[in-house]
Amino acid sequence: MPENLELPPKTRGLTAIAGAMSLIAVLLIVQIWLLSAALEAFLGGKRSSALPAAIFSGLMFLVCFGLYLFVDRVDLDVRNSSSER
């Protein structure tokens, strides 16, 4: 019979944090590309792409910030649960 396979809170917390960080890294790469493309278009005289680029960059920053809050919360929960034991 399989025993309780649930991972300890610390391991689960680290996995969640690693996942959130991977997402942030991917979003950051897209943001860097977006910035360089918007700059290239601006220097090339095409100014119409600046607004959508800024909107999408802002959205990606908000998602990153949300993920940061998630990481902070998971971190705190794990710390509290380990100190309670």
Binding site: I17, Y68, V78, R79
Partner: protein, 168 residues
């Protein structure tokens, strides 16, 4: 930014400088996440800056400047000049008996000076082998992604006058 952090049993300095090895992994990960999010904010601010520059863009006016006389350079020959300011180096090429073209000499990749290659009839950047068309300044090959800014010329009598810069 106290609203970001919920009340914890430990003071902040104890969390950030944990004496437990197991907790250290959390601290470094949280700090890295913070750094990544700040970088993301930086990217967003950069995009906002481009947006502000685009919204408040005012087309510059260029002076009129005589740059050469009609018979001054032979067919296939070039003349270097500065326009519109002394720091903006440009190249004038006589492509046929009756035709002259002029472009900014600054490569759009990393600002090296381009030169006219008569054998291949194109403008070439020696730094990273970026090639531009002599007809319209568009990129033929290499790392540059934007065409060379074109200097608009007008013929007035036997003089060539630069009147505008077109960035496309």
């Amino acid at each position: 930014m106290s609203w970001l952090r919920r009340s914890s049993s430990e003071p902040l300095w104890k969390e950030e400088f944990s004496v437990r090895t197991a907790d250290e992994r959390y601290v470094t990960r949280r700090q890295l996440t913070k750094f990544l999010v700040l970088t993301s904010l930086g990217m967003f601010v950069g995009n906002l800056w481009i947006l502000v520059r685009s919204l408040f863009y005012k087309a510059p006016t260029y002076p009129q400047q005589t740059i050469a006389r009609l018979g001054e350079i032979p067919v296939g020959g070039v003349k270097l000049f500065t326009y519109p300011t002394k720091d903006d180096h440009c190249i004038l090429v006589r492509t046929s008996e009756s035709e002259h073209v002029s472009y900014s000499q600054k490569c759009t990749h990393l600002s090296c000076a381009v030169y006219f290659s008569q054998e291949s009839n194109r403008l070439e950047c020696p730094c990273h082998k970026g090639f531009f068309s002599i007809t319209d300044g568009s990129v033929l090959q290499g790392p540059p992604s934007r065409p060379l800014p074109r200097i608009v010329l007008e013929r007035r009598g036997d003089e060539l006058v630069a009147v505008d810069v077109k960035v496309s």
